[in-house]
């Protein structure tokens, strides 16, 4: 009768699924991994498909060095916005004001440099501060006064658009000093011997490859140290090869034209930095926590108001940066700049796997989402599809991407 109760330990946690390494085929392991990370890989594969399709349709024009360079320049500001927007959406909010804010900051930069002759580095800092100020006002209203973000930023959208027109008196203002122009369409400087390639870009590419390989290997070793399960060696090598090849191709493409655009370097730093913060920093965790379940996060001692405030402040700074890049690229501040940018950034985030209810998404996802839209844009331009149809197709792309997500989630059990 009285079996020893302490020893009962109902069916010790099953070692089931104790690692894909357990004697399964390589293909099986890959498929399993794919299924588990459908959200991430799904969009990556979709992006790959779109690139291949357009490359074929445009007879390879899409992948010409000059066009790749262009693609980066054209989409950089949306990608910058998408990073910030991803954070906002993960936190369970939305920001409709960023398009107008980019225009406003561009106008402010033009007024400073063109009308008042302020030197460009100072203007740059001032512009970022203005973005931070705008972001923190909105953030304060949302986080501390509890006004819904949709309302606050909708107001911001109207307000900053109006202020832009007031600031520019309805005119287009330019040109910008050369230093600022570089932000929009500058490239890394040319140095070293003549190799038919852009030397600094090549060097940077190689450094990047070395860094990625080192990082991956170190990570794997640490995981083994902690006796955690790792990818089987062959699959790991395959992944590493794919990564290296991707970087190499991009490097060669860019190096055979004018080199890496400056904005790409900035963007790269942002992706790495924000990706790291969202994955590894306490702050990033707190953003996921408040978006995933706000009451639970509060009761866990997360300072939800502060986190929300900072997320919007950050969005303001990134919007200012995007505004500078746009203005620099057009070499003029226009009252009509940045129209619909907020929607493109929001679409990028959702294509990249964000959830309407918050708590889900990655920085890399936002970038992939942004690139899907960017490649569609660029490819359709090359095929001279009119802007009317471009809008239709981009709308459908958003629907398909999110629809796939929803379908995939439902399939894997409610």
């Amino acid at each position: 009768m009285s079996t020893d109760v302490t020893a009962k330990s109902p069916a010790p946690a099953p070692p089931g699924g104790s690692g894909p390494a357990a004697g399964k085929g390589l293909l099986q392991v890959m498929l399993d991994g794919l299924r588990r990370n459908m959200r991430q890989y799904g969009m990556l594969i979709a992006l790959g498909l779109i690139v291949v399709l357009f490359a074929v349709w445009t007879d390879g024009d899409l992948l010409l060095p000059r066009n790749v360079s262009n693609l980066v320049l054209q989409n950089s500001y949306i990608l910058v916005l998408a990073i910030g927007m991803m954070l906002v959406i993960i936190a369970g909010h939305i920001d409709l004001s960023v398009g107008s804010l980019t225009a406003f900051v561009g106008a402010f930069a033009a007024v400073l440099t063109v009308q008042h002759g302020v030197s460009w580095p100072i203007a740059l800092v001032l512009c970022l501060l203005v973005g931070a100020a705008a972001g923190s006002v909105q953030g304060y209203l949302i986080a501390y006064l509890g006004i819904p973000s949709f309302i606050v930023t909708l107001a911001g959208m109207l307000l900053f658009r109006g202020l832009t027109e007031i600031l520019l008196e309805g005119q287009t203002l330019g040109p910008f000093p050369e230093g600022l122009q570089k932000l929009g369409n500058g490239f890394l400087p040319e140095t070293g011997p003549d190799t038919n390639y852009h030397n600094l870009t090549l060097l940077l590419g190689l450094v990047l490859i070395a860094a990625v390989v080192w990082q991956e290997v170190r990570d794997r070793r640490r995981q083994q140290e902690f006796a955690l399960e790792v990818l089987p060696t062959r699959l790991f090598l395959l992944k590493l090869t794919a990564l290296v090849a991707a970087i190499l191709v991009l490097t060669l493409l860019l190096a055979s034209y004018k080199g890496a655009p400056i904005v790409l370097i900035i963007l790269g730093a942002l992706v790495v930095g924000y990706g790291y913060v969202m994955r590894n920093a306490v702050f990033g965790r707190h953003i996921y926590a408040i978006g995933g379940n706000l009451p639970a996060a509060k009761l866990s001692g997360v300072k939800d108001k502060k986190v929300t405030f900072l997320v919007f402040l950050n969005m303001g700074v990134l919007a200012a940066l995007a505004g500078l890049v746009v203005a620099a690229r057009l070499n003029a501040a226009s009252p009509k700049a940045g129209v619909n940018f907020e929607l493109e950034a929001i679409a990028s985030s959702f294509i990249g796997g964000a959830s309407m209810s918050g708590g889900v998404g990655t920085v890399l996802g936002a970038i992939i989402g942004g690139l899907v839209l960017g490649v569609l844009n660029n490819g359709m331009n090359l095929l001279s599809v009119g802007t009317d149809w471009q809008q239709v197709i981009k709308g459908l792309a958003l629907l398909v991407a999110v629809g796939f997500d929803v379908w995939n989630k439902r399939k894997s059990g409610s």
């Binding site: 009285s2 699924g17 009451p295 639970a296 997360v302 059990g413």
Partner: protein, 519 residues
């Protein structure tokens, strides 16, 4: 004896990677109340989802026969058309619509899309009378208590010409009084010829209303017992559920004798809190209590006695409006104005509502456990993922959280395992004082025992534990001392030696006119 109204034969249901039901056979006779019990994750809810068409025909193996006909339900609507209605644990009512609107939601009395309000109200009044709910049908659902909402759900089922009513843990969120009424109603409906299936963890309820009970364990139906037979004792049912005899429902505890002189780990003095909206109302009224290290102190009270409100307002003022009182930790007064401050002073509050206030269901076990004390696995604001993983793997093993890895989303776990994650999370925070609010609500006997063991260990490590519970037997089994509350006030303090259910119940119903004694 009437013949079977429902037969489920050799039901097998597999999800990717998991066999939820491996062989379940269930026979329910016409007009009986049939209980289903089993540990969490045993497959009760899955079985009911198969029956009600949530898992459509074709997604499982085996046959479902209702009124001797093979059922091929493709969704809930199809099963409802046959008169099978399921009432889920989480009520499916729209809070801002009226009772009447909720009753006929999706099934409106309407012609050409226009609602006939007179007919709606007439029918609603009739249904409410049948379930004994004395509320006007135009009352908003948000304005009535959970107990009454449960009755609205049943009225809704009646409106669908229910023949077989399935109730999934109907009393989990109810107090004793409301539970009693609900059970009476089930018996009343039985007289009217409605067959019921009731899933419940509460064995005394099963004994009260059920005619037979089917026990499910690990996805298999183990046995069906006749509840009215004398040999079917609670112990007998529990033995079937856990697959072993159970002499001890609680771990052996040596009662704690606090050293005189040492300041209590937590002391609350004159704590008063007003209702967040109705600010005239004192929800907690001048409560003073203390807990020493190594002690488990219970707080008993009926629904609305102010236990959760007391705990939450002390824990970072997360409930109501503070109106006076002090908190002392180890004899020194502390500020607990925010959760961060409370946690900083070594206080943890484990919520009664883990899904809404305890866990981020879409996130992993790993990240849920580390959230409150992220800084312990982080350096300069950067989380060490390997360290974090090691910590949570440790908890998965020691707490026996049933999941293949710590990267499983918490939302996919069963209630008992979710509760273990919440507990792990707060143990990881390393508190001196743990306030546990209904830590075993809605979880099965086996997991309960595991949680009791953990609580016992915490006390043995010298932590002060406050144990809030509506289940008197577990307070009696676990606590060194038990405070009782009623209508926001402390009404008694009973040492372990003197505590019985009767004594506690007497204190819990003291001084309050509007609460009637239910036992």
């Amino acid at each position: 004896m009437a013949g079977p109204v429902l037969e489920m034969r050799s039901i097998v249901k597999t999800f990717p990677g998991v066999k939820a039901l491996s062989d379940v056979t269930l026979t329910v006779r016409q007009g009986e109340v049939h209980a289903i019990c089993g540990e969490n994750g045993a497959g009760k809810s899955t079985l009911m989802k198969v029956l009600s068409g949530v898992h459509p025909y074709g997604s499982y193996e085996g046959d479902v026969l209702f009124e001797s006909e093979v059922c091929q339900f493709k969704d809930i609507r199809a099963s409802e058309q046959h008169g099978i209605v399921i009432i889920h644990q989480e009520l499916a009512l729209v809070p801002y619509l009226s009772i009447a609107e909720n009753l006929f939601l999706g099934n409106e009395h309407a012609r050409r899309g226009l609602i006939n309000w007179n007919e709606t109200l007439r029918h609603a009044t009739e249904l409410l009378r049948r379930v004994g709910l004395d509320e006007h049908p135009e009352t908003r659902v948000a304005d009535i208590g959970v107990g009454k909402q449960q009755l609205v759900e049943i009225a809704k089922a009646l409106s669908k010409q229910v023949k077989l009513l399935i109730l999934d843990e109907p009393t989990a969120a109810l107090n004793d009084e409301d539970s009693g009424k609900l059970l009476d109603l089930i018996l009343e409906l039985k007289k009217q010829g409605i067959t019921s299936i009731i899933i419940s963890h509460k064995l005394n309820e099963i004994r009260r209303v059920a005619d037979s009970v089917t026990i499910i364990r690990d996805g298999r139906s183990i046995e069906t017992l006749d509840v009215k037979a004398p040999e079917t004792t609670e112990e007998r049912i529990i033995a079937g559920m856990v697959g072993r005899d159970l002499d001890h429902r609680f771990p052996e505890r040596t009662p704690h004798h606090p050293e005189e002189g040492a300041a209590p780990a937590l002391e609350i003095r004159g704590w008063t809190v007003h209702h967040p909206i109705d600010q005239q109302r004192k929800v907690v009224d001048d409560v003073s209590l203390q807990v020493r290290r190594g002690e488990i102190v219970g707080i008993a009270g009926l629904m609305g006695a102010g236990r959760t409100e007391l705990a939450m307002s002390v824990f970072g003022r997360t409930y109501g409006r503070y109106a006076g009182g002090t908190v002392l930790k180890d004899g020194r007064e502390i500020r607990t104005k925010s959760v961060a401050e409370a946690v900083g002073h070594g206080i943890a509050y484990v919520t009664e509502d883990r899904k809404h206030y305890g866990l981020n269901l879409i996130d992993t076990i790993n990240r849920n456990i580390s959230l409150t004390a992220l800084n312990k696995v982080a350096r300069r604001g950067i989380v060490d993922e390997h360290e974090e993983r090691k910590v949570s793997e440790g908890f998965r093993r020691t707490m026996n959280i049933k999941a293949p890895t710590v990267f499983e989303p918490v939302g996919k776990l069963s209630g008992g395992n979710q509760q273990k994650v919440v507990l792990s999370k707060w143990i990881f925070a390393g508190p001196d004082v743990l306030i546990l609010d209904e830590p075993t609500r809605g979880i099965d006997v086996g997991a309960k025992y595991e949680i009791y063991t953990v609580i016992d260990q915490l006390a043995a490590q010298g932590k002060a534990v406050v144990f809030i519970s509506s289940e008197l037997p577990e307070l009696l089994g676990m606590c060194d001392r038990i405070y009782t509350m009623a209508a926001g006030r402390l009404t008694g303090e009973v040492p372990r030696a003197e505590a019985t259910q009767e004594v506690l119940m007497r204190h819990m119903t003291k001084d309050t006119q509007d609460q009637e004694v239910t036992r």
